[in-house]
């Protein structure tokens, strides 16, 4: 639990709110949305609010329900509970289901799904009324940078070009909402990194509101205004990318977003004692004797070779470097204690510490996220959902 953590169940306040000062118009709102497939709950009690012009990333492992969430918003699935509003209009509800063609949404899939019988112009103009079509298509071609390729057929385009056509096609009718379902994951890594920035710029230029589903955390953090992390149908946390990285709400988010060292320790006098030092235990709400884990990112761990210490360290704090992983700008060192605990520490790649070197580690940060291990240990516990029993649909959300 971090000092600043006060996550409300729906959304966290974001920069846009604070700047505008007034309630901005919402492009999308979902009201405790739930969808089951037989026994499996694919989406459970999801509440989202996306502002006009915002870029929301939805991040989660495969099978977490993020694609189902997108398909519910698009209208390809009917929710079993809850509702959806697009631009303030209810499109899904208990007795209401607007078909996809009436929702004013644009969609881009992983496979580009271009109409193979139409050329670039035909594809981009598909959703446009006859009047003004030519002008709008020309605008879109210019926006996505495909001038000169107007008369190509889809199979004559590269993967990246295809996705740009798909994006232009989705944007052309000026939809209230753009839904992107892993649009880049069929491309190779280099192209992907380049195109993700390009896609973001195109969407920004078009002023589009976007919901972007991905399982690639780097992608989500890099281009989203806010990121919703999903697991097993639920949203675990919605935050800005930096908030998500620095103050993940629970161990799952910590491990899914970036690399995480979770150090076990015990609370004593309001501090968690760990192998690498003491950390403040939240607001002092954790009782003495509580077992907890502390999140330390690899770059927060600092190593000191034992041979350079003036006084010999306590033997249980000594770690041995068992592996070096070179990442270009930095080197990650995998450290192992006698008790079998493994930690990862990052240093600039100029570091010369060899495999086998004995070190002790300490952290540069004093205020770090702390997760109590025992669910009943303290009020305000940030225990991940898996430790609890199943919650019946419609029950109160279990997060504080």
């Amino acid at each position: 639990m971090t000092a600043t953590l006060d996550s409300p169940p729906v959304t966290m306040t974001s920069m846009a709110d604070q700047v505008a000062g007034t309630e901005p118009a919402l492009a999308l709102r979902t009201l405790s949305l739930t969808k089951r497939f037989g026994e499996v709950v694919a989406v459970e009690d999801v509440r989202l609010e996306v502002r006009r012009g915002e870029f929301l990333g939805v991040l989660g492992p495969s099978g977490c329900g993020k694609t189902t969430l997108l398909r519910l918003i698009a209208g390809f699935e009917r929710p079993d509970g809850g509702g959806i509003e697009i631009d303030g209009l209810a499109v899904s509800g208990p007795r209401r289901h607007q078909p996809p063609e009436r929702r004013r949404i644009g969609m881009v899939f992983q496979e580009s799904a271009l109409f193979p019988h139409l050329d670039v112009i035909g594809n981009i103009g598909f959703g446009l009324p006859r009047r003004g079509r030519v002008t709008r298509v020309a605008e879109m071609v210019a926006l996505v940078g495909l001038a000169g390729l107007q008369h190509r057929m889809p199979h004559e385009l590269s993967g990246g070009q295809q996705q740009r056509v798909a994006l232009a096609r989705a944007l052309a009718p000026d939809p209230a909402l753009i839904l992107l379902d892993e649009p880049l994951s069929s491309l190779d890594a280099t192209l992907r990194a380049q195109l993700r920035v390009e896609v973001r710029e195109i969407l920004r230029a078009a002023g589009a509101t976007t919901v972007f589903v991905t399982h690639d955390q780097g992608e989500a953090l890099e281009i989203s205004d806010r990121v919703a992390v999903m697991r097993a149908g639920r949203i675990e946390q919605i935050s800005t990318p930096s908030e998500l990285y620095l103050r993940p709400i629970n161990r799952f988010v910590a491990g899914f977003v970036g690399e995480a060292n979770l150090l076990p320790g015990e609370v004593r006098h309001g501090e968690v004692q760990t192998l690498v030092g003491r950390f403040r235990a939240g607001n002092g709400t954790l009782a003495d004797g509580t077992r907890a884990e502390v999140l330390l990112r690899p770059e927060q761990l600092h190593m000191l070779p034992v041979e350079r210490l003036s006084t010999p360290p306590r033997p249980e704090t000594v770690l041995r470097i068992v592996r070096r992983v070179f990442h270009g700008s930095e080197v990650h060192h995998v450290l192992r204690s006698d008790s079998g605990l493994e930690l990862e520490a990052a240093t600039p790649s100029s570091s010369t510490l060899e495999i086998g070197t004995e070190v002790i580690a300490h952290a540069r940060a004093r205020e770090v996220p702390v997760y109590p291990l025992d669910a009943d240990a303290a009020p305000g516990s940030m225990e991940p959902a898996e430790a609890m029993g199943p919650t019946p649909i419609g029950a109160e959300p279990r997060r504080p």
């Binding site: 026994e39 099978g63 078909p99 929702r103 959703g127 839904l179």
Partner: protein, 536 residues
């Protein structure tokens, strides 16, 4: 920390993944499916309404027909396996000289429709046939009796054994040579290796091919009627023509349907399993070639006899009678009227069958719910219904409820639809499977309702598939004999009817030109089917 949720499996199981189809689509699909069920339903009603249906079933004559039919199917199937397996093995695994040519020549009989085959056998080996007229100068007054069982079994075997060759050939080419190599390395000779390692693996392919042959000989009308063998199809036809009581014909037809349905069921079961066996991994290497040595002479003789009877005999007979006909001044122009009729009826059938196949295929591929799979299955009923049964049922339905339609082109087209919609659905379905559902979903988000998506996106994309389906139905309908005989308007002769009636009456020269045309049509359709299968 990722949780592997078994979502996809759950989706498939629960079936809720696909959205409910629009009502007009369900309506159209159900209509097409019902079309396939009407004939069989009416026959059941007819048979059940008769008080002595049970006694009709158990009558000596009925049992006699059943036994004769099963005897014929059994003989033809056994003979086809005995010819087909060696042919397949020799052309794929041995160093037989001219293997490639033998392969093509042994598959060629597939392009000969059974009544053309029947015609060839009768016109070559029958009394007053080509052989006798060639032998007469040498004092041969009478050839051994051909009509009945021997002729029917010969004709059907000659023109259906290639089904076994095709199926076994495929299996042999996919076979992993490792099994045989292991067997050889364990000290077994080539012969014992074939029996203990190769043959067991071929069993699914052999059975699959054999079942196709059995289905073919159960439902065949052309060859058995020309060779006057009283199996079910001919007995049904004779019963229908000779008496005013339709009940016995209906009962016979139902028993026949039970037989074909049983064979079809066995075949589909087996095909599913065979596919499963194969999926373990294809053979990366081609198996080694086995040297025949001195055995190559008997092998060549075997091929010469098979090809001589199944290819040279029919083609030679047709050409012989054609030459003789021209010599006798037989007018060739008569053929054109029949050709035009054939093309008209088949062309209309093709267009209608393709249109009817669309809702069924869309339901089956895109809405895999209860309705979708039921409609798809019902539309396949036509596969189990021999042409004679469909024709008979529609004759009864029309005579009873729609007398104005009897012997009109529309009723003939309905019969063609029942018979050929399954074929069209197969092709349409396959091309629809190539279209990603995402493409249709994108069109929805761009403002098109389901009907608009079908019209503007799906149909334009699968157009080549629809054309292929239409062409396939066109070519198959050209060959169709029994439903045409029963339902064609008076005086509406097609090529198939022309061949059949000329042969029945002994006018061999008159049957030759349409027979030649028909072989060409069939050759094109076979090429078409093979190309479709390769693309799939």
């Amino acid at each position: 920390m990722a949780i592997p949720a078994p979502l996809d499996a759950a989706r498939i199981r629960s079936g809720t993944r696909t959205p409910a189809p629009p009502p007009w689509l369900v309506g159209a699909g159900v209509l097409v499916a019902l079309l396939g069920l009407v004939p069989i339903a009416y026959l059941v009603i007819l048979a059940a309404s008769s008080e002595d249906a049970a006694s009709l079933v158990l009558r000596d004559r009925t049992l006699g027909v059943l036994l004769r039919t099963l005897l014929l199917a059994g003989t033809v199937t056994t003979a086809s396996v005995l010819i087909g397996v060696p042919v397949a093995w020799l052309t794929t695994r041995s160093d037989l000289p001219g293997r490639r040519w033998w392969t093509i020549l042994t598959l060629l009989p597939l392009v000969i429709p059974s009544y053309v085959g029947g015609y060839a056998v009768v016109a070559a080996l029958g009394p007053r046939g080509a052989l006798q007229s060639l032998l007469e100068p040498f004092g041969v007054a009478r050839l051994p009796e051909l009509y009945g069982f021997p002729g029917a079994a010969l004709a059907l075997t000659l023109f259906s054994f290639p089904y076994v060759v095709l199926s076994v050939r495929g299996a042999l080419l996919r076979l992993d040579p490792a099994f045989e190599e292991v067997s050889r390395s364990l000290g077994r000779g080539p012969w014992r290796t074939f029996l203990s390692a190769t043959l067991p693996q071929l069993r699914p392919a052999i059975t699959g091919g054999a079942l196709l042959v059995a289905l073919y000989s159960l439902s065949d009308f052309g060859a058995v009627s020309l060779l006057q063998f009283d199996s079910f199809t001919r007995a049904i036809y004779v019963q229908y023509r000779g008496s005013f009581d339709p009940t016995l014909a209906a009962v016979l037809a139902l028993i026949l349907v039970a037989c074909t349905a049983g064979v079809l069921l066995a075949e589909s079961r087996l095909r599913g399993r065979a596919r499963y066996h194969r999926s373990g991994g294809g053979a990366a290497r081609r198996p080694g070639v086995i040297r025949l040595g001195g055995w190559r002479w008997p092998a060549l003789a075997f091929f010469a006899v098979v090809v001589g009877l199944a290819v040279v005999l029919p083609v030679g007979t047709i050409l012989f009678w054609m030459a003789r006909g021209i010599g006798l001044g037989e007018p060739l122009t008569q053929v054109w009227g029949a050709t035009l009729n054939s093309m008209l009826a088949s062309g209309l059938a093709a267009v209608l069958a393709v249109i009817a196949s669309i809702p069924v295929a869309v339901l089956a591929v895109r809405h895999r719910g209860l309705i979708g799979s039921m409609v798809e299955r019902a539309s396949y009923a036509g596969f189990a219904l021999p042409g004679i049964v469909i024709g008979l049922a529609l004759v009864f339905v029309a005579a009873r409820y729609l007398p104005g339609l009897y012997q009109t082109l529309p009723l003939l087209l309905v019969a063609y639809l029942v018979r050929f919609v399954p074929e069209a659905v197969g092709v349409t379905r396959a091309s629809l499977l190539q279209v990603s559902p995402r493409i249709e979903e994108v069109a929805r988000t761009l403002g098109r309702p389901p009907g608009g998506v079908l019209r503007e996106v799906t149909l334009p994309i699968i157009r080549p598939g629809l054309v292929a389906a239409g062409a396939l139905v066109f070519l198959t309908a050209m060959k169709e004999l029994p439903t045409t005989i029963l339902l064609a308007p008076t005086g509406f002769d097609t090529l198939a009817v022309r061949i059949w009636s000329a042969t029945s009456e002994g006018f061999f020269a008159r049957a030759a030109p349409p027979a030649l045309l028909m072989v060409l049509v069939a050759a094109v359709s076979l090429w078409f089917v093979l190309r479709q299968e390769r693309e799939r």
